[in-house]
Symmetry: C2
Subunit: 195 residues, 2 copies
């Protein structure tokens, strides 16, 4: 490795430290605070390592997609699932963020990392679909562990949970959606919240 | 995937959410707070993805080792580098933690994950050595970005930095240690701190 290459790589790695300060809506399981996007990305990579064993996907590739998928939020911010967004504006901000952030890397790696991010966003490969499944499943699990978490905060109904989480989770893994749907049912039954 | 298997897997994934609450000594690059072990693990996985391209290691395996390496801290706590530890007591606590935490997984996965953790600890495979290199390099980088970070707090000298970080970083990557040593030199030269 040349000195110049290492310097660029460490410059990128220093810059993405900022993902630890991007705060998401999801609570931690112990409700002590909200989750940040860096620890969320670690958690998702662990979801991939644990849950992909029976799926027809390349686990290592799913992990790479998940490690990289939120880095654009350093510049573009997080767009919560329960909210209204101008999706074109979000997309434009995220594209600019990808160009700046991955552009800090040596050229060959900039292209590779931007490619991983675009693959995740497009959700067309089996690995990207499964990564999207996990990115929806993890906050669902946190909500069921915290008396409804963001659902309770935003008065989200069981039907809305099905609409907002179901298609993405089921597309990557029907088995995980079956299980998740049962957890959701149990939460709404216990809480007596509106269906 | 059977329902029972998914339930065990999600139970483990819910339990390891607690790694987000294990606070390390290292500061974030913006000095807003100290780093936790979950976001540290994400950052290390990104170090592996970026820095292993010219190394003779299986990148995906390095990433798996790093995702798992700190999970035992949920029960055993973090043992900071600049401090005195009863290493036998730390080892006993970590072994018990590994047994309890990885034991939450289905049996086959419990063995696999405990194996990843033991491989990292033993630092005998090329992948584990390189993972250890990154686990030392990342806090070194954060310290150089924050006017010395934990070195300044603990009055650590340049010679002590060489002793405590050098062997582990150099063993996994002489090129990264050459670069890191220059960053350390620049920090101590700029700060006028004791060599």
């Amino acid at each position: 490795m040349s000195e110049a290459r290492i310097a660029e790589q460490l410059g990128f790695l220093a810059e993405i430290d900022a993902l630890k300060s991007v705060v998401r809506q999801s609570p931690l399981a112990d409700r002590s605070r909200r989750e940040n996007s860096a620890e969320h990305s670690w958690h998702l990579a662990m979801f991939a390592l644990v849950l992909s064993d029976d799926e027809a996907v390349d686990t290592a590739h799913v992990i790479k997609l998940l490690l990289v998928h939120d880095i654009v939020e350093i510049d573009a911010g997080d767009a919560p699932i329960h909210g209204n967004h101008d999706s074109q504006a979000v997309e434009a901000r995220e594209n600019a963020a990808a160009e700046r952030l991955f552009g800090l890397l040596p050229d060959d790696q900039a292209a590779t990392f931007a490619g991983l991010w675009r693959e995740f966003e497009a959700a067309e490969t089996p690995e990207a679909r499964f990564a999207k499944t996990l990115d929806r499943l993890q906050p669902l699990l946190l909500n069921t562990l915290t008396d409804g978490g963001t659902w309770t905060e935003n008065r989200v109904t069981e039907r809305e949970v099905h609409e907002r989480y179901g298609p993405t989770i089921e597309r990557g893994s029907p088995a995980l959606w079956r299980h998740a749907k049962a957890l959701v049912r149990r939460h709404f039954a216990d809480s007596g919240a509106q269906r």
